[in-house]
Amino acid sequence: MAGFFTSRLFFISLACVAVAATLPLYVSGYILGLLTVAFYFGVFAMAWDLLFGFAGEVNFGPTFLIGTGAYTAGILNNQYGWSVYICILLGALASVVAGFVLALPALRVRGPYFGLTTLVAVLMLQNFVVVFADLTGGEIGLTIPDVITINAGANYWIALGFMTISAAILYGLSQSPVGLVLQASGQDPVQAGALGFNIVKHKLAAFIVSAFFSGLSGALLVFYFGTASVGTVVDVAVGVNVIVSAVLGGRRTVLGAALGAIFLIVAGEFLRPTGELATFIVSAVALLVVLFFPGGFLGAALSREARS
């Protein structure tokens, strides 16, 4: 851990954050808005990587956690008009509860069965949103009266700060002894258990941490958008993007996941002139990375550094 503060990765990340922090001084509001969304998305992907890359759990339902946090915060603000910060906090807490509820049955099953359980959770949440349209705004979406701020620069800095702090905590956690136990229980649960580690407790903790950051990020995102809808925070397609970001950036690296998310969002925007082919091109690039650089962007870079 101490070695990290002198490693090249630390200085590169620090430099990236420092450069990114100065962006509002000279780029347009359009780019800032794009990056703001990308940063929140980066937190989704990092939280997912903690569960998959380290605990070895294939979670197809990141949007269950994200959506719960986002909709709880949005509904509280819409119905009761509570202050934005209380709503965001309660959204994150609701997401933690959702993560706990999801983890209890899900941890009994493994592999594809676990994946399906999490996928079903998303479909249930989606149905819930559509059925209780009075409360949630249904398919049209939920209007949120309050926003954190309307200043594009301030929103950008909040997102960047939030992503940096989340990255520091999640990366620190993944490199800590707890992260090692998680990695061990993901790779060989029987042996990790035989060494005396409580696997269920560790995986539950990973779930809760992942849920907390997903929910917090989801809640912040809806207060940035000023609306919550199935298409932006719940749909399976959003979850797929989160998974693709993490795999693209390099699983088990945490920081790579954020990189992948930013790439995915920015590339999607740059390819907008190609119209409907944009998603096709992004998916094709992602597939090529999966096939030829299975370690992802950061994984490939790190292994080259380790070799030299």
């Binding site: 998959f52 294939v58 049955p105 009994r108 099953v109 592999g111 594809p112 069965y113 994946g115 399906l116 359980t117 996928l119 079903v120 479909l123 249930m124 149905n127 559509v130 059925v131 790779q187 399976v236 397609a237 797929v240 998974i243 693709v244 795999v247 119209g275 409907e276 082919l277 998603t279 096709f280 998916s283 094709a284 992602a286 597939l287 999966v290 096939l291 299975p294 370690g295």
Partner: protein
Amino acid sequence: MLALQILIDGFAISALYALGATGFTLIFGVSGVLNLSHGAIMVAAAVAAWAAASVLHLDIYTGALFGVGVALIVSFATYFAVVKPIQNSSRIPNEEKEIFVLTGTLLWGIMIQELIAYFFTNNAKTVLPIVEGVVDIFGNRTPRNNIFTALVCCLVIGLLWLLVNRTRTGKAVLAASMNPRGVTLLGLELTQIYIVVWGIYGILAGIAGVLLGMFLGVSSYSVGPLTASAFSIVVLGGLGSVSGSLIAAFVVGYLETITAYMISPAYRTIPALLLLVFVMYIRPQGLLGRR
């Protein structure tokens, strides 16, 4: 009266689900691959059949055959371009191949979906049914197409059963699903068995896709829900168990039809999802699955 209508309507959709899920479970049973581009292959077959009829002006039968042929080609492409490279890759650790196959086939499915949307738009397409008109069953007006769909599904599943249990190739496939290493020791090439299985899968998915196109119509938006429904039916029945999938398909099909008729079409999928969660909790290996 209503009960009979539910019985008839539910049978056709259940048989269709069963046909779609059989191929999916066969692939998993033999090679351990969960093919998340399943929905895309079915939609590709239906859209190809539609395009053959309305763009190329072929007759209905040639169009249907064309659809199945396209599904077969896409199925082989999935195996050779996505699944095989991942399985043979030396850079991906063995315990992570499962997630890579999942991610890879998912991306492949999205690519097919986007290509279909690009060339044929997102509009829903209905393939012209082979048989038309309605027939009266004890006072229920039932489209002939429903009966045709159910019959074809049952026939194809029956043929599959004969193929797997009564032919030499089928027995090799069955053996590979039980013990791949044992099969290679007997001198059979595992890759060839995989190719056969992907071929069978392509034909099954193609027929299911074309029938779905005639029965309900498809659009590129159906890709996700189709994959999800096949996935849940297969897990409900027990991964790799063909008979489990058949039972699960009928359970899900009827549960959806009953909900649609008795409560509201808007709640159609909810009871099936609840059942799935319940089964996962008390019997994680599915109805007929082995652990």
